[in-house]
Symmetry: C2
Subunit: 247 residues, 2 copies
């Protein structure tokens, strides 16, 4: 699998992408998504799993709102993975994740995912490198199983620059509409960024097969980030070419 | 993985195993199991998954009664896999299975299992050999995941001779206490035995790693079958050596 170095990858839109035209394209993409998702649901043959990963304040929540608002919620579900419960910890790390994978006809969005089990756990020294390697193998087998059952797995890393991240965390501290998201732990986590980059790159090196690659999304600008994810999802759905069943 | 040919494997107890002494040993084994399971539950560190497979009338239900009666039901659960529901069929074949794996501290018994998805489906032509091979790979990865999370996986095939099977199915037809189990489909299934043998042997050839082998249990005599399973389970628990936590 080709290595990916975050430092070398852009966090902003290319120069020729202007905000206004991109926002117009995003609007068109959302219309296409509404149509495609309706067909996917009606055909009841394939499913799509959208995995969103990124550092704190990389804008996962906002992205979900920007891309999926307007799509029939009967066919789209979002699951946010929080700290595992005691019962979840009493099972293998994929146990709670497997329960949330999409049924045929559905689009499922994971706000964080099983990748946390090889990221935060590693940064905090809860698992060894050896255990991480075993988990990479398990993750690859798991995602293959899903694909063989007709699920398209789309993995997105929201790539935000350290400067932008610092600004956003500062906003959380001061903006009344964002303060509820602020945790004192954020400051500690910010100091862990270099460690996170390293374990993310290890994920990209080991869990990045051609059939199910990571999309590294420049994520400093919310409008561009939403556009890239919507376009990638649209392309994946077009490839599935879902058809309304004949009566 | 070493091949296993059912024709060459015994369906009856070795000559030197007498019914009465074996039943006495089984009684002792059950006492040991009660003690070991209690420690497993208290220690809350490992778990055991017992997978029971076998042709119709190979005696899975009776075996569960004989081996597990008397053990604290708080620490032992039995799950019988029936024909998949519509929702289950809308997911990969391991989706419903993964939900039922044991939590730490538990013994879980599968009465039939994910192996049906490479047995009955194959005999009835619902999946290709190629798909079966893909599922073998998925099954091996799945069982490895469980083992890495601290689950001992014990797989038993209850090996009954065709003569004994025929007799048991005949009993189902005539014995009032067993008639509820009789289905007209049993007769059809009996004609599929050679096909079942073949796909079972393919399972033994592909899903039989050293860390998680199949135990082919001579199953013509109920007392011997229960003894072998109880002994294997006891040995596995002794190996885990569960300890009461210190206060």
């Amino acid at each position: 699998m080709p290595a990916l170095y975050l430092k070398k990858l852009p966090t902003r839109a290319p120069e020729n992408h202007h905000k206004n035209t991109t926002l117009r394209e995003l609007k068109k993409l959302r219309q296409e998504l509404i149509d495609l998702q309706d067909r996917l649901y009606a055909e009841n043959k394939h499913s799509v799993l959208v995995i969103l990963q990124g550092m704190d304040a990389s804008g996962k929540d906002g992205l979900i709102r920007r891309v999926f608002s307007g799509i029939n919620p009967q066919g789209v579900q979002v699951h946010s993975f929080k700290e595992p419960t005691e019962l979840e910890l009493a099972h293998d790390f994929l146990w709670r994740v497997h329960q949330q994978v999409p049924a045929r006809g559905m689009v499922q969005v994971f706000n964080r995912s099983h990748y946390e089990d090889v990221l935060i756990t590693r940064v905090n020294g809860l698992i060894t490198t050896e255990e991480a390697r075993r988990r990479f193998t398990a993750i690859n087998a798991f995602e293959k199983l899903l694909q063989q059952a007709g699920t398209t797995v789309l993995k997105f890393y929201l790539h935000v620059s350290e400067e932008e991240q610092r600004e956003r965390l500062e906003e959380r501290r001061t903006d009344p509409a964002k303060q509820w998201k602020y945790e004192a732990a954020d400051d500690h986590k910010a100091s862990q960024w270099p460690a996170y980059k390293e374990v993310y790159e290890d994920v990209f090196a080991h869990c990045n097969p051609a059939a199910c690659p990571w999309h590294i999304v420049p994520a400093d600008q919310n409008w561009y980030k939403a556009y890239v994810v919507a376009r990638t999802l649209r392309d994946a759905l077009v490839k599935l070419d879902p058809q309304y069943p004949e009566k």
